[in-house]
């Protein structure tokens, strides 16, 4: 009973809202926007030519009746020899428009209304990058530290003065003359003599601290973890791999097939960016760099004769003496890209070197990671041998099949 009542009331509500929507032009245009995005956006934009022409002001160029027919079945109109249709077809590089017999007249009208009312997006001011923000935070911290240091210094100065004044007063009362003032060094030596144990402890602690610092300092020579070079295009992995959920392999297809994952060639970019001409915030300059490199005219959709390749800054630089093969790890080892490259899809607006890429780092992983043996016939007999040797419940790591031997990577 209640259920039926609920149903009814929902239906009523829906009807009510629909009637409101239809009565209001804005609501209609929004509906049109959704329809436009679902059906037309692949080939059209309101403000620029994609595959088909820019559609803002289309209602002025053709009559509504004609447009309704055209959108329903453009090829048929061209075939029938409609002069307007043929001209349009010829003007747009003889690209046939898709048939939209599924769209109702009302829906087409909604799209047209949307096109009439749509306003060009305002280009937003480029947001500050993470790096800059981080730097600012860092400088704040420094200021606090400096202030704290000054305060401490002042307090210690005041305390010393107080102590000296008090000692002077005591001596004066007892009639002992003040000792001759000591120089700083003499004072330090005097103090050290009187506090031998404490001095030794401080010395040892300082020495150990210094050694540890020096050791890690030396170890970090040539380690470029966190290396984040400036790139010629502000390409965001977060946007593409995270928000847009594009698979890593779509662009870095070499990871499946060969040694290097590879930086995608520009024709791969153009698979999408032939149509996607602006970023989510309406930003266009970065995508335009692809067009410039390819000497591509986005309005006409034609390629020029003077392309210039993009020179990316290489983020991951292994020395020549180490051989690394992506497909070995990705296909055979079934290692996720993120294991070495970090949370690319979550936070890398600018690509950086996530891992250390040192030999110790490689070896550590080889000591931990089990080999994918069960699903690979290559290891069939060997798997049995290893299980017999190490026990059936043991972890057959890469190390146990010789994966830490020198000539697996160095040759």
């Amino acid at each position: 009973m209640t259920n039926a009542y609920l149903h009814k009331s929902i239906k009523r509500l829906l009807l009510l809202s629909l009637s409101i929507a239809f009565s209001a032009g804005v609501a209609c245009a929004q509906d049109g926007e959704a329809l436009f995005n679902n059906n037309c956006k692949t080939c059209h934009s309101p403000f620029e030519k994609v595959v088909g022409p820019a559609l803002k002001g289309v209602e002025g160029r053709h009559s509504e009746d004609w447009l309704l027919k055209w959108i329903h079945n453009a090829p048929a109109m061209i075939k029938s020899g409609d002069a307007e249709a043929v001209k349009l077809y010829n003007d747009n590089g003889k690209q046939q428009m898709t048939v939209f017999t599924n769209l109702k007249e009302g829906e087409i009208k909604a799209i047209l209304t949307y096109l009439k009312d749509v306003k060009p997006p305002v280009t937003s001011v480029a947001a500050k990058t993470d790096g800059e923000e981080g730097q600012e935070e860092g400088s704040n911290a420094w200021i606090y530290l400096i202030v704290a240091a000054i305060v401490l210094y002042l307090i210690s100065g005041v305390l010393r003065r107080t102590q000296e004044t008090l000692a002077h007063a005591v001596r004066k009362r007892q009639g002992i003359p003040d000792p001759a003032p000591m120089g700083r060094w003499e004072g330090f030596v005097h103090w050290a003599r009187n506090n031998k144990k404490l001095f030794a402890v401080i010395l040892i602690v300082l020495f150990m601290f210094g050694s540890v610092k020096a050791w890690y300092g030396l170890l970090s020579i040539g380690v470029t973890q966190g290396y984040k070079p400036e790139q010629p295009i502000k390409y965001s992995h977060k946007l593409h791999a995270g928000d847009m959920k594009i698979s890593c392999i779509y662009c870095h297809s070499g990871a499946e097939r060969g040694k290097t994952a590879g930086v995608p060639s520009l024709n791969v970019c153009m698979n999408c960016h032939k149509f996607v001409k602006q970023g989510p915030t309406g930003e266009k300059t970065e995508i335009a760099k692809i067009y410039k490199a390819l000497d591509y005219d986005p309005d006409k959709g034609t390629y020029g004769s003077n392309p210039k390749p993009i020179q990316w800054a290489r983020v991951h630089n292994l020395p020549d003496l180490a051989y690394f093969n992506h497909s070995q790890h990705f296909v055979v080892g079934k290692i996720e890209c993120q294991t070495c490259h970090g949370p690319v899809q979550d936070s890398m607006t600018v690509a950086y070197q996530y891992s250390k890429l040192t030999m110790g780092w490689c070896i550590d992983c080889h000591r931990r990671t089990p080999v994918q043996m069960t699903s690979n016939a290559y290891y069939n007999d060997y798997h049995k041998t290893l299980l017999a040797k190490y026990g059936s419940d043991s972890l057959l790591t890469v190390e146990r099949i010789g994966g830490t031997e020198c000539a697996r990577c160095h040759y």
Binding site: G254, T260, L266, W312, A313, R314, Y378, E405, H410
Partner: protein, 1025 residues
């Protein structure tokens, strides 16, 4: 068989310098002065301070440099070609022919550049084999001496201007009815021949003259006389049980050597099942590579070969009941000839007599012998003939005549260099000046091109579209594996252009193939395979119809007095086509082991009589030509004869080749209208010039006189498969008893546990012909640097694999035991020769591993001895502790160093480097890695496909390149592998220096000679007497 081997005359004679070198392999002091770049005098003043300064500076510089990561660019394709994956290699089937060598090949490319050439196993001609020159051809592509643009009268021009000018000139020549001559080396491309035909239609007064630097034109002439077939036959060495060769180096240079060496090796493979092999008898004066491999080898002067063949003919004719011919006396060779005749006659139809002498009469005699032996239709196929070496000496002589008379209007020279290669080169160069329009298609401004008005540089074969028909009905295609590097154009394309044909050469070939060759098969399929082989016609029997009496008389008249000289081609430089290739220049000659030079080889007896010493400069006069060159005392050279290699002494080939050696082509003699690679009446006189040090690789890496090549005869092998493979036992005192024990039983070491694989290699010494293909293949695969002549003289060559050559003698074993090498001195006039390829033996108990202070060399679970360059600090302890002397030290930085101005000193030459193998730095040790990069790649392919590695799927560069399949690579863990089957410790298999018990993963198979033990013994007795 108690034989003593020595590595060269120096060792035999215990030359003082040799002993010093032997005991002090790394004789040089540390090249500190070169590191510091200061005069050595300064170093002695304050070395310690300077050292500290340098130390401090370099530490500071290193840490500073390391702090900042330099920005490295990565530049992706704008539009990646579909088939290119950066970091993965692509293979293309193609074929290589440079007028001299033919081979069906597979070309490995990385990111669009060819880096390695391998044999195409689909070809029934070359069967996947290659030779050193084929292996090196990929480097010739990146030769800096190649022309960048067309040249007209010494100045670069555009192709448009060139075409306009040449079209005009050709037109004017044609309208004046002047002669147009196309001069080329042998063209085996049916399409190019068709293009020449088309060109001839446009310019009817055109004639195509074929000229080969090393000619076989007498064979064609003789075949015409004998059988009415003006062709070079195909030979089936694999069907021959007795092979007699007369001055014929068929294993590396004669007509189609890759094909023949494979066939030859097939007849000489032995295992527990097959216990028969062919018998090979060689008659020659200079010790050729083929002669080195012969079971029996006899000394004959070039001019006496006619008489020897006439005697052989008579011996066989008397058995066959045919009429005999007049034959001169051959002295003590009579017995050898009659023995050979017996063998040949008993193997009638399964024998083969070949002769490399370019003389019609001699070749007629050879045809007569083969005809009596009924070899036509079995071992010789005259119906499915060979298209290589089509040069016609008479045509060439006629052309010279026409040119000097000024009758030739236009001369188009493609792929040959007569100014350099012809004995009349100078006259030819002068005659070119009389030609109205002279055009060369050379890829560089070589000797002939420099004399021509126009140079229209041709593509390298790896940049070209082409086809080939090396034998009737056996086609292969050439496809470009890289876009032309320079503004060059193919010869055929230029001709098509000038003939006014609209089509390009690729379309022309496709059209020609679709119409005449493919018979409905798809062009793309054939292109992918690289090979198209139709059905062969029947091979018929032929009877010689030549006047053999006249031939024998003519051959007999060849005999001349005095010292005689033969000219030969080396395995590396060959006829000199690829002379500017540093890999080939650095490849040691298989017999003399000398690199970077040619020289006069003389017999040890002659050297003693005339007191010539190795390295003396002598003046050699013959044919009215006089030249100065160094002497090499060569065991095996017949007394009273000498020999020189051609292909050297270039002017205009490029930086590498120019000025290396002397040009010996002018010594060639015109006899009966044919060019003979020999000269008579040679005068040799010692000059007062300083001796030169020849860059030889033979006087070091000594095995200290130990017998490391095991050898037996076929008879003994049939009786006992372990013959010659006796184990070296070690005397041990057990308690009070003295016991002889196997080294393995006295093992101190723990054995290694195998991983998923245990890789190893087998080397069949009976199949190895010593050609050096593996050396060049290894150089190409592993980025082995070229070090140059000077460094080779200091024993610093970098080859990871070497071929040891040992001369043998039949010394008394008792004298051997006395330990005095001099006591073993016996005449070394005609020694037996063995070749042994030696690379890192990948010992399980490697002596090098235990002495490395930084563990830069260690053992892998897959059986390899690993060398880690980035860990090596260069103590060289490992090299000193290696019993096989296979480790090489990088004394210098060989890249970007003007002192080593070879391919690694320029960007173009560096394109050949294999990106999967590191280029080693100065101060580190290196050695054979068992092509670990190939093993890793092969394993990865199997893993990705989820299957086991198939036997034969992975191969090392040396094994893959070997034309005779002497090297077998495999996995001991794979029970069915060929390698496991070859390991017959109770047969021919043995480890090198087994008594050391270093347990190598490489093993050898004993050498077996097909000689009767008694006859062999008898012969050596005779020699002693």
């Amino acid at each position: 068989m108690n034989k003593t081997y020595w590595k060269g005359v120096e060792e035999l004679q215990n030359d003082a310098k040799f002993v010093q070198l032997k005991n002090n392999e790394f004789a040089e002091h540390l090249p500190l002065d070169e590191i510091v770049q200061e005069k050595s005098a300064d170093i002695t003043v304050s070395p310690r301070r300077d050292f500290l300064k340098f130390l401090g500076f370099s530490v500071a510089a290193a840490s500073l440099a390391a702090c900042e990561a330099p920005i490295r660019k990565t530049i992706p394709y704008l539009n990646r070609p579909e088939q290119v994956t950066p970091g993965a290699s692509n293979w293309y089937a193609s074929s290589y022919h440079d007028g001299y060598d033919y081979c069906a090949v597979l070309v490995k490319t990385r990111e669009g550049r060819p880096i390695k050439v391998e044999g195409n196993t689909s070809s029934s001609v070359t069967k996947g084999g290659t030779n050193a020159r084929i292996q090196a051809s990929v480097l010739s592509l990146y030769d800096n001496a190649r022309l960048r643009t067309p040249i007209a009268n010494g100045a670069p021009v555009s192709w448009e201007n060139m075409d306009r000018e040449i079209a005009m000139k050709l037109q004017s020549v044609a309208s004046a009815n002047g002669k147009i001559r196309i001069l080329s080396s042998t063209i085996i491309s049916p399409s190019t021949l068709k293009v020449i035909e088309e060109f001839g239609k446009k310019y009817p007064n055109t004639k195509h003259v074929v000229y080969d630097a090393v000619s076989c034109s007498a064979m064609k002439a003789a075949n015409k006389e004998s059988f009415g077939v003006d062709e070079i036959p195909s030979y089936n060495f694999d069907k021959a049980e007795v092979i007699a060769a007369f001055d014929c180096d068929f294993l590396i240079n004669w007509i189609s050597p890759i094909e023949y060496s494979r066939q030859y090796a097939e007849t000489r493979k032995l295992d527990s099942g097959k216990k028969t092999m062919s018998k090979h008898v060689q008659f020659e004066s200079a010790l050729s590579l083929t002669g080195s491999n012969a079971d029996e080898r006899y000394h004959v002067k070039p001019s006496m070969q006619g008489a020897v063949l006439a005697n052989l003919y008579n011996a066989i004719a008397s058995k066959a009941g045919a009429t005999t011919v007049n034959a001169g006396s051959v002295g003590e060779l009579a017995k050898a000839i009659s023995m050979l005749a017996d063998d040949l006659w008993t193997n009638k139809g399964k024998s083969l007599v070949v002769c490399g002498i370019n003389n019609t009469a001699v070749q007629n005699l050879v045809n007569g012998i083969n005809s009596l032996l009924e070899n036509y239709g079995t071992t010789i196929d005259l119906d499915n003939h060979c298209h290589l070496r089509q040069g016609n000496d008479a045509d060439m002589a006629l052309l010279m005549d026409e040119m000097s008379k000024g009758e030739v209007g236009a001369l188009l020279i493609s792929n040959c260099n007569p100014v350099y290669t012809s004995p009349m080169g100078k006259q030819f160069g002068d005659a070119i000046k009389k030609v109205t329009c002279s055009i060369s298609f050379a890829d560089r401004a070589d000797e002939t091109a420099a004399a021509c008005q126009y140079i229209c540089p041709d593509h390298h074969p790896l940049e070209s579209w082409n086809d080939a028909e090396p034998k009737l009905g056996k086609y292969s295609l050439t496809q470009p594996t890289i876009a032309p590097l320079f503004s060059t154009r193919q010869f055929a394309e230029s001709l098509l252009m000038w003939a006014g044909s609209g089509s390009n050469y690729h379309d022309f070939i496709a059209q020609h193939w679709n119409a005449n060759v493919l018979k409905g098969k798809s062009w793309n399929e054939v292109l992918q395979e690289g090979i198209f082989e139709g059905e062969q016609g029947a091979s018929k029997s032929y009877k010689s119809a030549a006047n053999l009496t006249a031939a024998a008389d003519a051959a007999g008249r060849m005999n001349v007095a005095g010292v005689e000289m033969t000219l030969y081609e080396k395995t590396g430089v060959g006829s000199g086509v690829q002379a500017n290739n540093p890999w080939l220049q650095e490849l040691p000659d298989p017999v003399s082991k000398i690199t970077w030079d040619n020289y006069l080889s003389v017999a040890p007896k002659d050297a003693r009589d005339n007191s010539w010493k190795q390295g003396n400069i002598v003046e050699v006069k013959a044919n009215g030509v006089s030249m100065k060159m160094p002497v090499v005392v060569q065991p095996g050279q017949m007394p009273g004869t000498c020999s020189v290699a051609v292909g050297y002494g270039r002017k205009g080939a490029g930086k590498v080749a120019d000025g290396v050696g002397v040009n010996a082509y002018p010594f060639m003699t015109m006899v009966d209208g044919q060019l003979m690679a020999a000269a008579g009446g040679v005068q040799i006189s010692k000059t007062v010039e300083d001796d030169v040090l020849l860059a030889t690789t033979q006087s070091h890496h000594t095995m200290m006189g130990r017998a490391i090549v095991k050898e037996t005869t076929l008879d003994e092998f049939v009786k006992d498969p372990t013959a010659g493979n006796e184990r070296d036992l070690i005397s041990v005192k057990v308690g009070k008893e003295e016991k002889k024990m196997n080294a393995q039983e006295l093992n101190l070491w723990n054995s290694f546990e195998d991983g998923n694989h245990h890789f190893g290699m087998s080397i069949d010494l009976n199949s190895c012909i010593g050609c050096g293909t593996c050396v060049v293949a290894c150089t190409a695969e592993n980025n082995v640097p070229v070090v140059g002549k000077e460094e080779v003289t200091r024993s610093r060559e970098m080859h990871w694999i070497r071929i040891d050559r040992y001369f043998s003698s039949d010394a008394d074993p008792k004298e051997h035991e006395s330990g005095d090498i001099k006591a073993m001195e016996i005449p070394s006039d005609n020694p037996k020769v063995v070749f042994q390829p030696v690379m890192c033996q990948h010992c399980a108990h490697a002596p090098c591993e235990t002495v490395c202070p930084v563990i830069a060399t260690s053992h892998s679970s897959e059986g390899m001895n690993q060398m880690i360059y980035n860990r090596c600090v260069g103590t060289r302890y490992c090299a000193n502790n290696c019993p096989y002397k296979v480790r090489r030290f990088n004394w210098f930085r060989y890249t970007d160093n003007p002192k080593f101005d070879f391919n690694m000193n320029n960007d173009l030459g560096k394109m050949v480097l294999n990106p999967d193998v590191v280029v080693r730095a100065r101060g580190v040790m290196e050695k054979c890695s068992l092509c670990v990069q190939r093993l890793q790649e092969g394993k990865l392919v199997a893993k990705k496909q989820g299957r086991k590695v198939k036997d034969g799927e992975i191969n090392t560069a040396c094994a893959q390149a070997c034309p005779t399949q002497a090297i077998t690579f495999g996995d001991y863990k794979d029970k069915e592998s060929k390698l496991n089957k070859m390991w017959e410790p109770n047969g021919r298999s043995y480890h090198l220096l087994e008594e050391l018990d270093v347990q190598p993963n490489v093993f050898y198979q004993t050498k077996v000679r097909n000689v009767k033990a008694e006859a062999h013994h008898e012969m050596s007795e005779e020699k002693k007497g």
